[in-house]
């Protein structure tokens, strides 16, 4: 309860603080990135499945929402949800065969998925306008809207991770054999984690489209995918607050160095190396931020 109130206060501060257009843009971007990172965190941090292709789900969400609003004139909210469900559908199809196997097969499949989706979007010119990009999206992602969705998703994510499903996911992360001998169908557990995480990324992609007003396939390449996973590792695997902090920090740092944009990736890489050397478990390890002072959980 205390946590929900704090999150809502943070949300109000982010939404109502009087800021210029540029800072407002950064906040929107931060919220969008956090939503996607939370999705990856559920899968990688809490279920232990590595992914290198979650930008694909963002692309699906972005294009679904864009095409529905621009071409078919469907209103914004249903279109964003449709983007999320599109991501769920594709995730389900990919997860069905790959998550049955133990090992990092999903990571490899996700690499392929990411490229395949990007290439489809680039080459299906009649539908997506290909690499010229898809312009004219109504700028529906206002600051208030982005913050509301981010805070809402953050609250429900914290909540369900503290419930039946959260324990189920952590069980299959920590020991798949033990989980299945505790009566969990681990394939199903992993599928649940994957579709939920895909949904978050789909929503995030749809919000990104509504913020930029223009999307193109190259926005959702390998780079974006690895960035999402890197942010989660950076924040600490198994810590949702770590993921949110990490994602916000990386967004800010990347913005700060926009002037020297050719060195951005260099700085980004250096930062990851430093973190991995000095804190291999990530910023917060597998603890949440309010558990830090207790020091009981490893």
């Amino acid at each position: 309860m205390k946590r929900n109130i704090i999150l809502i206060l943070i949300g109000l501060a982010l939404a109502l603080w009087p800021l210029g257009g540029y800072q407002e843009g950064i906040i929107i971007l931060m919220c969008i990135n956090c939503v996607a990172a939370m999705g990856v965190s559920i899968l990688t941090g809490f279920t232990g499945i590595f992914t290198l292709g979650h930008a694909a789900y963002m692309a699906l969400g972005a294009y679904t929402a864009a095409i529905l609003t621009v071409r078919y004139g469907i209103s914004v909210f249903p279109s964003i949800l449709a983007g999320g469900f599109m991501a769920i559908l594709v995730a389900w199809l990919i997860g069905l065969p790959t998550l049955k196997l133990t090992g990092d097969y999903y990571a490899i499949a996700s690499l392929g998925l990411c490229e395949a989706i990007r290439l489809i979007l680039e080459n299906w010119q009649s539908f997506t306008r290909g690499s010229r990009g898809f312009p004219g999206i109504e700028p529906y992602t206002t600051r208030g809207f982005a913050v509301t969705i981010f805070i809402f998703l953050a609250i429900i994510t914290f909540n369900f991770l503290e419930s039946r499903l959260g324990r189920e996911l952590k069980a299959s992360r920590d020991d798949g054999v033990a989980a299945s001998l505790m009566g969990f169908d681990t394939h199903k557990s992993k599928m649940k984690a994957l579709v939920i995480s895909a949904f978050y990324c789909g929503i995030s992609g749809a919000l990104l489209g509504g913020y930029m007003g223009f999307i193109q396939p190259s926005m959702f390449d390998m780079m974006k995918s690895t960035e999402l996973t890197a942010v989660v590792v950076f924040g600490g695997l198994g810590s949702l607050s770590g993921t949110i902090l990490g994602s916000a920090a990386i967004t800010l740092i990347m913005e700060y160095f926009r002037d020297i944009s050719q060195y951005r990736m260099l700085i980004y890489g250096l930062l990851l190396v430093i973190i991995m050397v000095f804190r291999p478990e990530g910023l917060l390890g597998s603890r949440e931020i309010w558990d830090l002072k207790m020091g009981v959980k490893k």
Binding site: F160, S163, R164, L165, D174, A178, L181, G183, V296
Partner: protein, 273 residues
């Protein structure tokens, strides 16, 4: 309660088990002994569905569970602990027990299976559970059910003497405590049959003594059928009325502790003749 019929298990060309047959009676406390590599843990893995035997069948309460998946077998009421500890190391001690306790399926579906109406899909009775939406918003039945779950898990932890460690990460517990936590976690499933795989491994004599009491205690109090694999002969001789002895993947003897104690084949297996 449990019957193994002519179980063969091959790994490639190696026969890990050959023609194993025995039965475990309802409410009994049976021990399995044997030198290293005799195939004791393999038997557990076959019963719990981690492996499917090359030949033979496993019957649980009259129902053939040979080809069922591990989680399905577990849902029928078979729980186990592991020789090489498989706790959810990054979760807290309490969470470990709660994770199992949330799968304590309402008995109705088990009864359905035992009365012969086995459906292909074994699914738990979820009507007494909160839904995903309730868990997202922490509304409705969420707080009541979580509270009961926490309470019953704490009781189990008290039973094994770990209640003051409830919030510690399971992976940071000392070895002996981790073993006891595994027992608590298995009990949380409210099984009918409990399989203990070397529960005393790595324990000092004092801890083994306590474990003695714990095993006989839970056997009585939880109305369980227990099957124990053990190396500590004195432990098994003391608590198990019936003992099965394996060597090189075959059953060489079965009987009361005295019969086993005086069996020449068992002596040969253990002392090399």
């Amino acid at each position: 309660m449990l019957e193994l019929h002519n179980i063969d298990m091959f790994f490639g060309g190696i026969a890990a088990l050959h023609d194993i047959k025995f039965r475990v009676d309802d409410g009994s406390l049976t021990g399995i002994i044997g030198p290293n590599g005799a195939g004791k843990t393999t038997i557990f893995n076959i019963i719990t569905g981690v492996y499917t035997p090359t030949a033979g069948s496993v019957i649980f309460n009259g129902y053939d569970i040979t080809n069922m998946k591990a989680y399905q077998i577990n849902r029928l009421g078979i729980a186990r602990t592991f020789q090489n500890l498989r706790l959810f190391a990054r979760s807290s001690v309490l969470e470990n027990v709660m994770t199992a306790a949330q799968n304590r399926y309402v008995n109705s579906y088990r009864e359905e299976i035992f009365s012969g109406n086995m459906t292909q899909k074994i699914s738990p009775n979820l009507s007494s559970w909160y839904s995903f939406v309730e868990s997202c918003l922490h509304l409705g039945r969420w707080s009541r059910i979580e509270k009961t779950l926490k309470f019953s898990s704490m009781q189990l932890l008290e039973r094994v003497g770990l209640h003051d460690r409830a919030n510690q990460a399971a992976g940071t517990l000392p070895y002996g405590m981790q073993r006891r936590l595994e027992i608590a976690r298995a009990l949380a499933l409210e099984p009918k049959l409990l399989l203990l795989d070397e529960p005393a491994a790595g324990m000092n004599p004092e801890e083994v003594f306590e474990l003695n009491d714990l095993i006989t205690g839970i056997h009585k109090d939880f109305n369980l059928t227990v099957l124990v694999i053990e190396h500590h002969m004195d432990l098994i001789m003391k608590i198990c009325p019936r003992i099965i002895c394996l060597n090189f993947g075959a059953k060489i003897a079965e009987g009361t502790s005295e019969e086993i104690h005086n069996n020449p084949e068992v002596l040969e297996a253990y002392l090399g003749g």
